[in-house]
């Protein structure tokens, strides 16, 4: 299972105030808070952690049909500029993040080595772009490919009754849209 999350940093800067009282305490572990407060760029680290938590949550809720809001329970460890780990209950999610001036993008997976197909597209055309990609890979007709959502909102793509995606995660924020796929 995979989950992804993208954050448009200029929008995050106007939509949220990470320095607001309670913001860090409610969502980040004591260890994460300490790292944020001593970071050279605390803003970037807040959103790196957040995208890791959100991506792991999206991977977790594809296996478990529940929804909840508990970012603090997703404990993050940064391994390198790109790699990280998120611990939740008895699971470990391996994360890869792309961090630059404009956005932070993270994918989380239960397997260390996952062949994830990821594509950035403008937010308005994500669904269409996924269908085109699936039609391309399977040589099936694009108009016959439909999206269905699970009870907690995770997207799955079908050709008639045949499931085409083992796992699919969609994220959009501000100017950015992205999808990640694991093929069946």
């Amino acid at each position: 299972m995979i989950g992804n999350d993208i954050i448009d940093l200029s929008l995050a800067n106007t939509e949220s105030n990470w320095q607001r009282r309670g913001f860090l305490e409610k969502q980040f572990t004591v260890n994460e808070q300490k790292l944020i407060l001593v970071a050279t760029n605390p803003f970037a680290l807040v959103w790196r952690f957040w995208s890791m938590k959100e991506a792991a949550y999206k991977a977790y809720t594809q296996q478990n049909e529940i929804r909840f809001y508990a970012p603090k329970k997703f404990k993050c460890i940064i391994m390198s500029e790109k790699e990280g780990l998120v611990f939740f209950k008895d699971q470990i999610f391996y994360t890869i993040s792309i961090v630059n001036q404009s956005y932070i993008f993270t994918t989380a997976s239960l397997e260390k080595e996952t062949k994830v197909y990821t594509k950035f597209v403008i937010p308005e055309v994500i669904d269409k772009a996924i269908k085109i990609k699936l039609a391309d890979v399977t040589t099936l007709s694009v108009i016959e490919i439909k999206q269905k959502k699970s009870k907690n909102g995770a997207p799955y793509y079908y050709y008639k009754d045949m499931l085409l995606t083992k796992s699919c995660s969609i994220s959009h924020h501000g100017n950015y849209g992205v999808f990640s796929l694991l093929f069946t």
Binding site: G22, F23, F68, Y69
Partner: protein, 84 residues
């Protein structure tokens, strides 16, 4: 404060974070913050912090976990107000 009044206060609080104005107009206890109002998940914490300030309550982690709908939020606020 009765439930109706609580919903009105809650409506004021969530308004700045709502991205689906149509769903906001039809807000009821069944309304989901993320799926219906399209509140960005990164803004859920702001809703919670605003509720804490408005009602002078503390929303603990267990309560926070369920804060995904109008109904859940009203239930939690009612409980906290009754305890205080």
């Amino acid at each position: 404060m009765n439930r109706k009044e609580l919903i009105i206060s809650l409506q004021k609080i969530v308004k700045p974070y709502v991205q689906d104005q149509e769903a906001f107009k039809n807000l009821s206890e069944k309304t989901d913050f993320v799926n219906d109002l399209k509140i960005n998940s990164a803004n859920l914490v702001d809703v919670i912090l605003d509720l804490e300030d408005e009602f002078d309550i503390e929303i603990d982690n267990d309560s926070m976990e369920k804060m995904l709908s109008v109904k859940a939020a009203i239930d939690i606020i009612e409980n906290k107000l009754a305890d205080s």
